[in-house]
């Protein structure tokens, strides 16, 4: 396979359109007769609905229809949203009605839907919908949510526990019994909101054939949406076409099936006209899943050399009001144990707790940043306790390069044992420290002290399970015009799949990459799809595209061998042709091969090949490639104000073979900045009665350009043995490892005050309070 494009810095095929304003996001689509929908949302964290009066709203100018739950009619008016990812450990899976019936359980829960001839007039009418609420006590803080007197997040339930997860391996009792040292500490983790720049949006349009509906939605999982829509609307799947056009960033939350999707579909079917809803920014704060608080209590047993013998973890997880995505987020908050380390014993329990707030579900990295942060905090705490260099304690605990595949002792989601396929964590750490110029750190500290600033450096090593099964399929087809189509279920939100898949296929078929068009995320164009989450598309769709292209190549060689009556091995593909090696004028354009295989009435199929120059493949990902690496962050702290300035950020990353360096670096840099945001800037504040308080981007602080340090990336390419391309996922490692590195760097800067940083995000007041506490000698 001539590697012309694989690994090359190809200009993305998506860019010409997106750079000239010709992208097509859901809110850009205009259809004749299209109406605009707006949702009336609960202003209360928990309340009974005593009554809803729609008459005033219905009389407003431009209003076509106003729906409360009963106006949607069956089956929606009596069926709750489906339980998405059922799992035996879930004790009670509360899901919401499409529009609230009798009870609202979080600020932002949709209660009514107004459909009008413009968004403006729909909003006017929304404020005329009168809902008679009886406010009832809300569950806000998970630390007291399981207590006796705690209010219930849902009326009529005995407690607020959604599920209790227990994982572990090895002999934990023995580990703690024989340990020279033990430490116990707690952590508070708050990961905020995804805030993709495009919010969610749904446009449903009835087709001319009765009962058939096309739904455009800004989603990461169009096939999951079609499956669930068919279930909720009790329609046959083939009457539903779901398309994810250009999507302006996903980062996790757009992988969930939301009530707005069936609500808009139902409105379009009832009114017989296209209906569109585009989420505005204030809605994204409360109506789109996000991640909030986790409280960790950790104890670690270790020996005098810093070898970790066992870890116990007890976690409380804020699940929010409903379970739109099963317990995937809590599960991924424990699954990454033991991280990059050969940990002999672990016992971890996690309580998934309902609260009266927006449901939580995976945001970039899901629970992986939470687990890795906990593990890295353990390592740093052990190093400080023993007075050892944190890098050295990591080296003593890392899984060695010669131990792969390494069976960790953990169980994957499908119950199979977790095994790391390949990697070299020591090499990543050493290269990261070298790129971060650890040697010159002391000198930089002096210079900073002279300016009245405290300088610190921190390490964050990580692993990430990527390329989750079961599949993401692809069809490769060559048209009689000689162009190549790659059809796939994979949906893209900026990852450049149209380019990476084209690179893979163009290399196999030896065609110019601009001849390859990738069509994804349209349920009419490809039969099955799983979803774009957790850095899985390069592994799954990439491998499927490769396998399908190889099958097409074999078909071409069979045809040409028959046509030229030469052996297949005397033939080659180059420059869009199949030709006899060494005899340049004996060649056939691939389009002609396609034409020959499209069948002529009365003629036999050449070389009794099957019709069509195409093939479909579903690479079955049975085992999970694990990426790994290390981030080193360096900061300066202003001791008078508590402000933290990021001065350097290095990531050395091993995600197997790299299809497109620029795209992988982009995923890592963007991911790192998101992690920096979680560590230092982003906090969703709620008040005591469950009201969200940070509701503008002027108060919810996202990282912006001037505050970011230079980010340098180093690569190691340890191929994965688990797929034909040797690739691993790269989407979320920047985020996962940035948080522990930045938090440790601040902690290192504060070492004169012997502060243990036990929470994120940090803000200047919290940093200053730790400095003051240390100055007054308090523990």
């Amino acid at each position: 396979m001539g590697a012309r494009y694989f690994g090359a810095e190809v200009q993305r095929l998506e860019d010409p359109r997106l750079l000239t304003g010709r992208g097509q996001y859901v809110d850009d689509i205009r259809l004749p007769g299209m109406l605009h929908a707006v949702f009336v949302r609960s202003p209360h964290a928990h309340a009974r609905i005593r009554g809803i009066s729609l008459s005033r709203a219905r009389a407003m100018p431009g209003v076509v229809a106003v729906f409360a739950i009963d106006d949607l009619g069956e089956p929606l008016s009596s069926a709750r949203m489906p339980e998405m990812m059922p799992a035996p450990i879930i004790r009670r899976a509360h899901t919401q009605y499409v529009l609230a019936r009798d009870e609202v359980c979080y600020v932002g829960e949709p209660v009514a839907m107004v459909v009008a001839d413009s968004r403006h007039r729909a909003e006017d009418a929304a404020s005329a919908v009168d809902v008679d609420y009886e406010v009832i006590p809300a569950v806000v803080d998970i630390r007291s949510a399981l207590g006796e007197g705690a209010p219930r997040a849902h009326l009529g339930t005995i407690d607020n526990l959604a599920a209790r997860l227990e994982v572990g391996f090895g002999d934990i009792e023995a580990a703690f019994a024989k340990a020279e040292h033990q430490l116990e500490f707690s952590l508070e983790q708050h990961r905020g909101i995804a805030h993709s720049m495009e919010g969610r949006a749904v446009l449903a349009s009835p087709e001319p054939t009765p009962g058939r509906l096309t739904v455009w939605t800004a989603t990461q999982s169009p096939y999951l949406v079609r499956r669930q829509l068919a279930r909720v609307l009790q329609k046959d799947e083939q009457d539903l076409r779901v398309i994810a056009p250009d999507v302006g960033g996903g980062f996790g939350p757009k992988s969930v099936f939301y009530p707005e999707e069936p609500a808009i579909a139902a409105a379009a079917l009832k009114l017989g006209r296209p209906v569109k809803w585009a989420e505005d920014r204030r809605e994204h704060f409360v109506a789109t899943v996000n991640q909030r608080d986790q409280y960790w209590n950790l104890s670690v047993a270790f020996d005098g050399s810093g070898r970790i013998l066992g870890i116990r973890a007890r976690v409380l997880h804020d699940n929010g009001a409903y379970l739109p995505y099963g317990v995937i987020l809590p599960v991924t908050s424990l699954a990454p144990f033991p991280g990059a380390y050969a940990l002999p014993a672990l016992k971890a329990t996690l309580d998934v707790i309902y609260t009266n707030s927006t449901p939580t579900a995976p945001v970039r990295g899901a629970g992986r940043p939470n687990a890795i942060f906990a593990i890295e905090r353990v390592i740093d705490r052990v190093a400080d306790h023993l007075g050892l260099d944190p890098a050295e304690v990591r080296r003593r605990n890392f899984i060695r390069a010669d131990q792969f595949p390494y069976v960790t002792g953990m169980k994957a989601r499908d119950g199979s044992p977790v095994a790391y396929d390949s990697g070299d964590y020591h090499a990543c750490l050493d290269k990261a420290l070298e790129m971060a110029d650890i040697a010159g750190f002391e000198k930089r500290c002096e210079a900073a002290r002279a300016r009245g600033r405290l300088r610190g450096i921190g390490i964050g090593s990580f692993i990430e399970d990527t390329g989750l099964g079961p599949f993401e399929g692809a069809t490769v087809r060559i048209t009689p015009q000689g162009t190549v189509q790659v059809l796939t279920g994979a949906a893209s939100q900026g990852q450049g799949h149209a380019t990476t898949l084209a690179q893979v296929v163009a290399d196999v078929l030896a065609v110019d990459i601009t001849r390859v068009t990738v069509i994804g995320a349209d349920t009419d164009r490809f039969p099955y799809g799983a979803g774009t989450i957790a850095s899985r598309i390069a592994v799954t769709a990439g491998s499927s595209a490769h396998m399908a292209a190889v099958e097409v190549r074999e078909k071409i060689l069979k045809y040409a061998s028959h046509h030229f009556e030469v052996a297949e091995q005397d033939l080659e593909l180059s420059d869009g042709h199949v030709q006899v090696i060494g005899v340049p004028n004996l060649k056939i354009p691939l389009g002609d091969v396609a034409f020959a295989l499209s069948g002529t009435v009365g003629q036999r199929m050449p070389a009794n090949l099957k019709p069509g120059l195409e093939a479909t493949a579903y690479f079955e990902a049975t085992a999970t490639p694990h990426s790994g690496g290390t981030t080193v962050a360096e900061v300066e702290v202003d001791p008078d104000t508590g402000m933290v300035e990021l001065v350097n950020h290095v990531i050395v990353h091993d995600c197997g073979r790299i299809i497109h360096p620029g795209i992988v670096d982009g995923q890592i840099t963007g991911g790192a900045v998101h992690g920096i945001g979680n560590a230092l800037f982003e906090e969703m504040v709620y008040d005591g009665s469950g009201q969200p308080v940070s509701m503008t981007l002027g108060e919810y602080l996202m990282p912006t350009a001037p505050e970011m340090p230079p980010i340098r990336i180093g690569h190691l390419e340890t191929p994965s043995p688990l797929n034909p391309l040797g690739v691993k996922g790269a989407g979320e490692s920047g985020t996962i490892s940035a948080i522990p590195a930045v938090i440790r760097a601040v902690e290192d800067a504060l070492k004169p005050y012997r502060v243990f940083v036990h929470r994120y995000p940090l803000n200047p007041e919290r940093v200053l309070r730790w400095i003051d506490a240390a100055r007054q000698g308090e523990p």
Binding site: R119, H120, E123, D124, S127, D280, R281, R282, A450, R451, G452, R453, D640, T641, M643, F681, V685, D687, V693, S694, T696, G698, E699, L701, T704, P706, E707, N763, P764, E765, L768
Partner: protein, 287 residues
Amino acid sequence: MKSAGFVYHQPSSVDELLGLLAAHEDNRILAGGQSLMPMMNMRFVQPEHLIDANRVDGLNYIREESNWLRIGAMTRQKTLMQSDAVTRHCPLMRVALQHVGHFQTRNRGTIGGSLCHLDPAAELPLISLLYDASLTVRSAAETRTISASEWPLAYMLPAIGPDEALIEIALPVGADWTHQGFFELARRRGDFAIASAAVLLSISDGIIRKAAVALGAVTQTPCRLTDVEALLVGQRADAQTIAAATAQAAKIEAFSDAYYSAQYRQRMAGVAVERALNAALGAPDHG
């Protein structure tokens, strides 16, 4: 997040503007729109009549007179940043403007809009207070001038009636300030300030003869720290004096919000005054 409806007016003269204000009690003036439009898009503010002042001639000017620098209320912040007259007479205004939002905001934002909106953390009300600006306000019936110190009545509530429009901001010039300094503490470039301070000093033979100290973002409205000013005058311009001024400034009663406590803001008031003084005296801002 679409604005509620309103009756739109586009007056072309000050008199026409004032007539509209008098005729419609439930009105808002649209100046640069950088503060009002977000509140209208979010439906916090829903005026019945929106009076667009952007086509009113005679409100966009910077005029130097012997003892006043007169600025029309609709002068864009970008224009102020590029004005030599402002740099000469009020160098701190130029420094402070770099902290006002982002360059896209400053292309449209006006000085009059900022003063009427009166966000506690806004830079231009702070600078106007520092320089003891004189504000000219007109209604259909009368014209009156009001000093910058009497302008803020309460949280985002300037001393201007619904039938009045701010016409001009006049900054006294020719004062013998020899040193000036500005400092703002904010998380990101262009963010709302957590604490900000601006100082003017006139120093001869190492002694501070006159001082003006203004504090922003710490109390419900920008304010002059008259006790800090009194403490500075007559003292040597040295580290002890700065330390005393810092301690005094840190006694201010600050407000709290969902992000920072009153204690933190109070302490940052001290740091802001200290660093503004250091900036004024050319000392490096460390320790």
